[in-house]
Assembly symmetry: C2
Homo-oligomer: 297 residues x 2
């Protein structure tokens, strides 16, 4: 782990989850740029997406990611991209997360600098700022920003409320657009269900997410995993003190149970805070006073 | 957490779990000695015992613990000590654990230096080396060393095979003796059962521990928790790669179930390695490839 007192995190999402050769190329700058550590990466064939988790100095993160954007533009053609996860571009989204020793203001500044740098280096690529870095309230929510996806992007970018923050108001012909933002840490947690019926995953997703009256600070999508013969409830837990991993797991399990469906397995994408791990482990082991400081690194 | 590359751990166990004034005195050198960090402490009224977990430089650990031994000798009288956990002395046991950047040889050396230092500073206190620091194979096992406890100590120390390594061959009149050793990390995990019948805890302990044909690398005792109106299966998991916390929890739960008894709650005493936490959390969340590096500190 990184033992310095300052950690900025970045979690770029690339629209390639199948071609290992391309994935390896995308990872090269994330692995080799000085001042950056690649903590984890996770690819999924059905999502057709790769999520990298990095920590490091802001300048180094910006440099590594800007290099990777160039590789993605060269290697990924969204016109041929089919995947279950919504996406607008070859590099779909680049969030920065202030983990330790940085505040949200520093992450917003880094998001804007990175966005400006990407636009100046790749002038055909529109760049849209989102969440804490958004330049208007209606542009904060990533789900709104992604609605219409790559295919609907040209029409969307023409509308005044979706003018890009940097770059042209038309999509890059093969790489679409990229969303760059700053946000608080979130936990990406997926529950895979033993059925091929995507309606069930969508139903459960809609019942567990906050916007459907479910768990607080929980976003959820139903996604088809054709390669596995399963469906998935793919969740983002945006505040683990409100909804922990165990609560998300148990809510989805209960909903699956009701429908006579089994939970096949689960996935954690990227990192989870030590406190979230201790909180959930304490729940399962019925330890009321388990402290994250008891986990020794 | 300690961010240096070298961590030696020490987990001294004191025979006082009730008097907060004495516990505070015992903790003073563990808190205030330079080069030492008190990571955790846990006291239990029924065990009548306090377990401190510290990390630091070997010399600093030795100094802090040797000071605390003096406080224990001054404040704790084993003739008046009643508790459910077996014990031989006011400071019952002092294990050193090489966590990072030290090998077992360094921990054994530290155990022997600490033992010699304690004996020279408190000449009435017999000191016995155990486990990796033991001076004979029959003296390695702490359970054998503790058998007979404080009350049987004078007779025991007379026998040639239990001559102390340092100090006199008779117990300190009020502080008994102390065992000083070196060992690999272990996980101290207790499961509290909703019954007052101590026979059930002893039966379950005997069925889950390795010596009873149960879980590998698992030691277990049945202990009465009068203050809570419960009984406890108190376990040491000496190799979490063989038996993880979740496996210990589930084995005890199954045995309790069979007897119609409920698990009330559980306790983790001291630290657990990050890998053990990830392993158990992955089990409960049904994540097959969860990696301890995904827990972000």
């Amino acid at each position: 782990m990184n033992h310095s007192n300052q950690i900025m995190e970045a979690v770029p999402n690339f629209s390639e989850g199948r071609n290992l050769n391309i994935i390896d190329k995308l990872l090269t700058p994330l692995r080799s740029t000085e001042g950056v550590r690649l903590l984890d990466y996770s690819r999924d064939e059905d999502h057709n997406r790769m999520v990298a988790t990095m920590a490091g100095h802001p300048d180094a993160l910006r440099q590594a990611i800007t290099d990777a954007v160039g590789i993605a533009i060269a290697c990924i053609d969204l016109n041929r991209h089919r995947g279950e996860h919504p996406r607008i571009g070859a590099v779909d989204v680049i969030p920065f997360i202030p983990l330790r020793g940085y505040d949200m203001e520093a992450a917003v500044r880094l998001a804007r600098e990175t966005a400006a740098g990407i636009a100046s280096r790749y002038p055909q690529l529109p760049v849209i700022l989102y969440e804490e870095a958004a330049t208007a309230p209606h542009r904060r929510n990533l789900a709104d920003l992604r609605r219409g996806e790559f295919e609907g992007l040209d029409a969307k970018l023409q509308r005044p409320e979706w003018q890009p923050d940097y770059g042209p108001a038309r999509r890059h012909p093969t790489a679409g657009a990229v969303a760059v933002g700053a946000r608080r840490p979130l936990i990406a947690f997926n529950v895979n269900l033993g059925t091929t019926d995507i309606r069930i995953a969508k139903e459960i997703a809609s019942s567990v997410r906050q916007s459907g009256g479910g768990l607080p600070a929980c976003k959820a999508l139903g996604i088809e995993l054709r390669s596995k013969g399963m469906v998935q409830v793919s969740m983002n837990l945006t505040d683990y003190t409100l909804t922990g991993i165990h609560q998300a797991y148990e809510a989805v399990s209960r909903e699956a149970d009701k429908r006579g469906i089994s939970v096949a397995c689960c996935e954690l994408i990227g990192m989870i805070p030590q406190e979230a791990a201790a909180h959930s482990l304490g729940h399962f082991l019925r330890i009321s006073n388990f402290n994250s400081q008891q986990i020794l690194i």
